[in-house]
Symmetry: C2
Amino acid sequence: MPNQGQIGPREREILTAIIETYISSGEPVGSRTLSRHNKDGLSPATIRNVMADLVEAGFLEQPHTSAGRVPTAQAYRYYVDQISGKALLSPADQSLISETLQGTVDIQQFLERTSHVLSLVSSGVGVAIANAGPQNALEHVHFSRQGPNKVLAVVVTKSGVVHDRMMRLQRDLTQTDLDTASNYINANFRGWTVDKVKAEIGRRIEHERSEYDRLMQSLRELYESGALATSEPARNIFVDGVSNLVVNEEDHERLRGLLKTLEEKQRVAELLSAYLDTRQEAVRVVIGLEEAMPEMRNLVLIGAPARVGEEMRGSLAVIGPTRMDYQHTITAVSYIAQLFDKLLNENA
Amino acid sequence: MPNQGQIGPREREILTAIIETYISSGEPVGSRTLSRHNKDGLSPATIRNVMADLVEAGFLEQPHTSAGRVPTAQAYRYYVDQISGKALLSPADQSLISETLQGTVDIQQFLERTSHVLSLVSSGVGVAIANAGPQNALEHVHFSRQGPNKVLAVVVTKSGVVHDRMMRLQRDLTQTDLDTASNYINANFRGWTVDKVKAEIGRRIEHERSEYDRLMQSLRELYESGALATSEPARNIFVDGVSNLVVNEEDHERLRGLLKTLEEKQRVAELLSAYLDTRQEAVRVVIGLEEAMPEMRNLVLIGAPARVGEEMRGSLAVIGPTRMDYQHTITAVSYIAQLFDKLLNENA
DNA sequence: ATTAGCACTCTTGCCCTCCAAGTGCTATCT
DNA sequence: AGATAGCACTTGGAGGGCAAGAGTGCTAAT
């Protein structure tokens, strides 16, 4: 990080102007155009001098000798730090967001709409994830016999997430067996976290070896078929607005790779969890995304964790081009993150 | 349709050769190259004559005067009719497909994997839909109180589809109220189709006006909150492999529009339901997709209905470029459609 | 009926030139 | 000393001309 100290007020102003011009135009910005569009009448020559310094300090680079300057990742980083927390969301966007999110019936739908509206108000891809971690408290389970050896397990957690799972058992259990089992689980373990329930049931069926206890046999059967697995992560990952990325990407091969990655929702989830700390409160802007995934060069992640209910946490983010309206997007993400908790408690 | 009769065996052979060459090369095919690559040593001049006839008959067109010929939609149509039912799926693909689909736990997952594998074996977008029409027979319902005025409704149909829905009621019902209601519904209506159940409950609560019947009040409350709505169609539509389309599309604006449409799964569903008759048995190839959706120019739909269980029907399809390996894709779609019923009955 | 020949058309790639935009440097101004 | 004006230099992109390649239609010959 050379010459960080050289950033005085004049340099900062010019750097900001360059970045904003570049964001809106998409083309390398030169000293002349900048001097024209900028209100304070600095001459091109002066600006050139400052630009040279900024190149030196690592904030700008030039595609080739006689072209304008383009902001580097470092410049975006600096810019984002400068503007953070300054903006207001337009009333239009506010109402678009709250109208879209109002009246959702469950978390999945809420996440889906969140990702959608994120992609609408930004120029990037909207992502919304519920970290369906096993830390969720059990509300109740329900088993229902669907046919010979076929059982449907429904696991509901306090936060309102539903996991349904059709299973094939080794042995055929009657509906009465199943009801006995679910009553047992609900009576004993309501409020426990799902993984603790799982562990405890495992312990009990291990301990209670008597082959003649019908309940224990049923439990064992259900346990071994994975009745309590809540991990179907792909169901709780929503990605929307991929088409937004088409505009800024000229290289077909790269675009294809990018879309492919975004289609593998699991990888998107990894990305978020790598960069978003669920304990942090504010919006986070990650600028060098290509370090984690090379196909994501020139993309930034603007994300925030979101608390839902008591225990359940989620993340939401926009993945968009470095050339994006940071101010607007950051504000939008922050706004939705704040709504998250409130709306879900209201509606669900 | 002018001059359809002009298609003799010679013309047909040449037309087929042109189409296949064009599919594999992607460039307008001229008489010279065709005469070289085609085993029967016809001279370019002869081929030119035939080509002229084929242009006349509407099977070919030339982008400009001195370029080769390109097949028209009519040509693809003809070609597909010729080759239908001729091919075998490669063992590699067969095992890829069955390995992917084996071990699925529920319909959603099955559909998801189907769309994925369809996109893998073709050069297009894989689509799988469960027509969660209200014609499904009710297996049982289950209501569970999640908090003040908050109720989770789970509706399970015979075919194993689960609809869960978090509702907000006007009045607060106790879990006992809810259990009474669900027992009532399960005892009286098991096996009915969901829409008939809905209609009948509507009739009964209308008829039984006594305000003092607690059960009826609960039912009314649940009914009015939409407890029996099974229509969250977007949950049962899976689209995968959009990135495949990037390769063949050079115009960014069109590509963007296309992706946008594909992201609106509802529209994809409309497309399938417009062109696929669930009563038909075989694979259907639709060639002029732009008639229904202008952004889908140069795309074809290769789809088939799929029966699942008894009543439940679904559709699966590939949406890909006109320039695709028809033989291969048709066979794959047909193969998976046949597997559909079998696998789901086995596993679920 | 098929083919060979030929003149014609059209696209593509290439090279060349010109031009606009931008730069760095130096001399000058305040 | 900082800001500006002037100037020579660089570079990518747009446009024009040119030759090559591929393809066509037509006519005449087999």
